[in-house]
Symmetry: C2
């Protein structure tokens, strides 16, 4: 069944655009409340945290978290703090990735990157502070909503595992060490599943855990997350070739100029699209035991491989 067929067959079509817009507003509002106005001697680090946090992100990870909660019948407000923490972690990773010692990028989403505005030292510290604060947000989440401390600790463990050397940081390490070297498809898959896939997968899984989901639901959601995580990064590779710089807010063709190995450069564009589509199919397939409340997740799987930004 291809994408178009899935769309037509869906009995509970939600308007994904409205859904993403609504959830993004909820996340943005919650993020605003997570940090104080910059004041006091250390105000610059708060400014730098806020600058990168509100530089126009799509909020994909927090939305996946909220959708994960709703997919098993939970209420999205229960997972809002965790959703915000995921965006804090994603933002810290972008700040550090953009630094001169890493990818050395001057622009992201059409805006100067953190270190261009605040200098390398404050940018580094703002990244550190966002990562640290993410865990404070999580460790206090149960004080205002209906989450058990046991489940919350499981969520913190899952997210820290996905963000650390076993996940995102591990993937980033291999990515940075592979520039200009021969990379085969299995190593590229390692980079993609770790650097991007792990946190995306943890986002939707943590949301479901807070539902709370039962064990088999969590397993299904993890499979879903694993598949869309890899699909997302392949779509990033494809967008770098086919994308419009204006829509994306960053230059297209950067990967090729930097000599970065991507799925299209290794297996070709059409094979990349085939793999991507297969991953989206597998993601949707993994949710077959879920009812209409998982419809946003199913549609997000399709959106990820069709997106233009």
């Amino acid at each position: 069944m291809n994408l178009m067929e899935r769309r037509l067959q869906s009995k509970n079509n939600v308007d994904l655009k409205s859904y993403l817009h609504e959830k993004r507003s909820i996340v943005d509002e919650a993020l605003q409340a997570c940090l104080p106005e910059p004041e006091g001697p250390a105000s610059d680090v708060i400014k730098a945290m806020r600058y990168s946090l509100f530089a126009g992100g799509k909020r994909l990870r927090p939305i996946l978290c909220l959708a994960g909660t709703e997919s098993v019948g939970g209420i999205h407000t229960d997972s809002l703090s965790i959703a915000c923490a995921l965006e804090f972690i994603h933002t810290y990773s972008l700040i550090h990735d953009d630094m001169p010692v890493m990818d050395d990028d001057d622009f992201r989403r059409g805006k100067p990157t953190g270190h261009k505005v605040f200098g390398d030292a404050v940018a580094l510290l703002a990244g550190d502070a966002l990562l640290t604060e993410a865990f404070r947000l999580m460790a206090t989440a149960h004080l205002t909503v209906d989450i058990t401390p046991q489940v919350l600790l499981k969520v913190i463990a899952l997210i820290s595992q996905a963000a650390g050397y076993r996940g995102m940081v591990g993937g980033q390490t291999v990515d940075i060490q592979s520039e200009g070297k021969r990379v085969d498809i299995s190593l590229l898959k390692f980079i993609h599943t770790h650097k991007t896939g792990a946190l995306i997968s943890a986002s939707v899984a943590s949301g479901a855990m807070l539902g709370p989901a039962n064990e088999s639901q969590i397993e299904a959601i993890k499979t879903f997350g694993h598949n869309i995580g890899l699909a997302f990064q392949i779509s990033d590779d494809i967008l770098d070739i086919e994308g419009n710089s204006e829509t994306m807010g960053k230059e297209a063709g950067v990967d090729e100029r930097k000599g970065k190995i991507t799925y299209p450069s290794l297996v070709g564009l059409s094979e990349s699209k085939r793999i991507q589509s297969e991953l989206a199919d597998a993601a949707v397939e993994s949710l077959q035991a879920f009812d209409h409340r998982a419809e946003p997740l199913r549609q997000i799987a399709m959106y990820i491989i069709e997106r233009s930004e």
Copy 2:
């Protein structure tokens, strides 16, 4: 009562040297078990994490955590994971502080710093990974020992607050922005209490919370921690003038050459020593309601202002 009098009056004198040695061995062994042998595509980041983690630290923060637990009648094994996490956080902060974009130090404890061995990118990522893994260690601590999830979440919240922009990262931000600028005593106190004091204070307080301590004990321990935290950083300033490079494993006189403002440069050496002694007195005083089990903490307060490394 001065230091010598306090020593003579102590009815429960412990051999601090043996105590520190014993606890340091326990911490070192536990730290060894926290990270796997480096293998797989991302093995370099694990190597870099291990390199800095085992570069000869005194393990002050973990020992304070264990001593905090014991001071209220708890068992040190219950807080060992948290103690290790504190050393992970301390080590990450050193790796990032030493980087060229920050303090640009080539040596620490007589060894080349992380970025000199592994390069800037992997050092940055190793710091990120240590910070992230610290929270995974904490979020799984209750699975093997007798800690309630509620108390554990309080501990994670306390430590993340102390390590983040409200604490250590905030202090580091102001420190780096103050180089070569006029700094008055109140700003210097802000830097010292945040950059170093906050995590030291959280180390002993988290240990006590795991005891578990009651509210008034926690308050007393926080006062203790606040005082020794500041005393520790002032003793660092003093050691930079009076210390022996060989004993310390780093050059003396660095602060002055870098134009860093310190307590001795602002208020003079003898006044700095007087303040330091006053802080140690206040620290010991705050533990007056504690019995002999707090004796190691009392002696650590004295050790901090008399140390030579």
